[in-house]
C-alpha cells in the first residue's frame, strides 16, 4: 500500500464498505437476539421479584440458626 493521501482514502473507503457489509448481516441477528434476551429478562425479573417476596426474612433466620449453632458448639470456618 502506498503511503499517500489518495491511497489512504481509497483503503478507508474499502474498509467502510467491508465493515458496513458485515454490520448489515449481523445487525438483524443482534436485533433478534436482543428481543429474545429482553423478553426472557422481563420474565426473569418477574420471577426474581416473586422469589424475593417468598424469601423475605430468610437471611435473618439463617444468621440466627448459625448463631445458635455456634453457641451449641458447631465447628466453624
Amino acid at each position: 500500500m502506498a503511503f499517500d493521501k489518495a491511497s489512504h482514502e481509497k483503503r478507508r473507503d474499502e474498509l467502510e464498505g467491508k465493515i458496513a457489509a458485515i454490520r448489515d448481516k449481523s445487525g438483524p441477528l443482534r436485533a433478534k437476539r436482543d428481543k429474545h434476551v429482553q423478553a426472557a429478562r422481563a420474565r426473569e425479573d418477574e420471577l426474581n421479584a416473586e422469589i424475593a417476596k417468598a424469601e423475605k426474612g430468610l437471611a435473618d433466620l439463617e444468621n440466627e440458626r448459625a448463631f445458635l449453632s455456634r453457641a451449641l458448639g458447631a465447628k466453624t470456618v
Partner: protein, 139 residues
C-alpha cells in the same frame, strides 16, 4: 475456629462481566472438596466434590448484592450444615457456585479449613461464617 482468606478463582470476574451471574438473584450453593482446587477452575465440574449424603441443604441465602461508591460486595447469610443419619466425609476446601448458571459457574473463590480438614459426625454442625462485609468485593 479456623478462618480462611478467599483464594480467588481467576475466571470468575470474566464470568461476572459476561452475564453468567446475577448474584442478586441466582440460586447459590456451597460445594465441598478434599482436593485443592486450582485458581484456574471455572465451573463446578472442575471441583472434586465429596458426597453430601446425610447433609442438610447447601443452599446459600443472599443477604445483599450491592455497591457503595463504586465498590461492589456480595454478602451471604451464614450457612449451617448439619449431618443427620451419618457422618460426613473429610473435606478441607469449600466455596460457592451458581446453580442457576448453565454450567454451574464458580463464584468468587474458595476457603481452606486448614490441614487435616474437617469431618462432621452424625448430628454435628459446621457453620460457614461468611465475611459480613462480603464474600468478596470488586472495585
Amino acid at each position: 475456629m479456623p478462618t480462611s482468606a478467599l483464594t480467588k478463582f481467576h475466571p470468575f470476574l470474566e464470568a461476572a462481566f459476561e452475564k453468567k451471574h446475577n448474584l442478586g438473584a441466582d440460586t447459590l450453593m456451597v460445594w465441598l472438596s478434599n482436593t485443592a482446587p486450582a485458581q484456574a477452575n471455572a465451573v463446578l465440574t472442575d471441583i472434586t466434590q465429596v458426597s453430601y449424603t446425610n447433609m442438610s441443604s447447601r443452599a446459600v441465602t443472599i443477604t445483599s448484592s450491592s455497591q457503595t461508591t463504586g465498590t461492589y460486595s456480595l454478602v451471604l447469610a451464614d450457612l449451617t450444615l448439619t449431618m443427620s443419619g451419618g457422618a460426613s466425609p473429610t473435606f478441607r476446601y469449600l466455596g460457592v457456585y451458581n446453580d442457576t448458571a448453565t454450567n454451574d459457574d464458580l463464584v468468587g473463590g474458595y476457603l481452606d479449613y486448614g490441614a487435616g480438614g474437617v469431618t462432621l459426625a452424625d448430628g454435628e454442625s459446621l457453620v460457614i461464617d461468611f465475611n459480613a462485609t462480603g464474600l468478596f468485593t470488586a472495585v
